[in-house]
Subunit: 192 residues, 2 copies
Amino acid sequence: MDETSQKIIDATMSLIRDKGYVATTTKDIARLAGVNECTLFRKFKNKKDIVLQGVTQEKWRANVTSDIFENVQWELKPDLEMFMNAYMDRITPDFVNLSIGLRAPQLYDETAPLIMKVPQTFVAFLTEYFQRMEEMGKIGHFDFESLVMTIFSSTFGYTFLSASFNRNLVKTSREEFIKYSVKIFVDGILGM
Amino acid sequence: MDETSQKIIDATMSLIRDKGYVATTTKDIARLAGVNECTLFRKFKNKKDIVLQGVTQEKWRANVTSDIFENVQWELKPDLEMFMNAYMDRITPDFVNLSIGLRAPQLYDETAPLIMKVPQTFVAFLTEYFQRMEEMGKIGHFDFESLVMTIFSSTFGYTFLSASFNRNLVKTSREEFIKYSVKIFVDGILGM
DNA sequence: CTTGTATGCGAGTGCTTGCATGCATATAAA
DNA sequence: TTTATATGCATGCAAGCACTCGCATACAAG
């Protein structure tokens, strides 16, 4: 990937994050990338092609693979904290807004699988984790799907709300949130 | 509001929910509403004006006022279940997608306060609820902000994930989710 | 019957869009 | 030095955009 193409991709993805795909014009992209508009079409087939190449780059996707969960201690509290930190390290506000910006009908068929892979990876990890924890006798039997959905929804929800309504709605810091919510998940409200 | 204007508003809001504001053209709106395109501009100042009138209609906003929490029993489990049900009754997938469709820079300054009012109302209710519960001696002392954020994030997260990735990611039904997550909030994972 | 109002219709406004082309220039490899 | 490649720049194009105009038609109230 030559430098000019990269600048074009970076400009495109930034604009989509800020304004959405449809509202992002090739003129905008060229201006932000500091190149002439026609250079876009020398390097890429069309506007959509820029985006589709962008979403395949590590730089523009949360780098989510299963090996991010390496430090499992098989201890509920530190493991859930590690899980939430792993999520929030990768799913930054920029990434959240980019994901929303990519939700355009013209793109969605091709980008949706990529966007969906992120939550799926986290949900799959959590599900496996709890199954193993039960096998090890460290927790009782659960409806794992509901348990996982509760914890993941909460992690996802906080991340999304922070990115969308920063400080207007969310007054709790990330560290506080992780500490307290894990405590609640582990001990419940009455048992604290 | 005459019938024609209402049809135009309904068509506009539906299209924004499905494609977003920028991708929705006045030609689309006219076709879906079954009126001539120029009728839009006889009834409304411009495209933006249609949306701004739409978002003020009860029909097109979650009808969230504080009196939706009337059935408080001051009992953790039924109250949290009531809270989550109240949220999910109102924040339907359609409403979630409409909220995202309204996130266009051309609109956001004017629509954001309306969109934000919904989570704020729920967060405010929960905060007050837990404060009263502590005063009544029914729960111990908490960092209420973190507690509220955990529960609301989870409710919001499940609602959003269901609307966005239906059944591909979310296998848990609403009823199951509410039942189990409230159980976890109340008892914790270890105490079940 | 007259008049006002709501709407349809076709055409067209000025502007912007994604995209293309021809040509000049810069740079770097041969 | 020659040659190939990358890029800038001006210009252009067909299509699509939000929005407007003049005029015809329907219908209901007076």
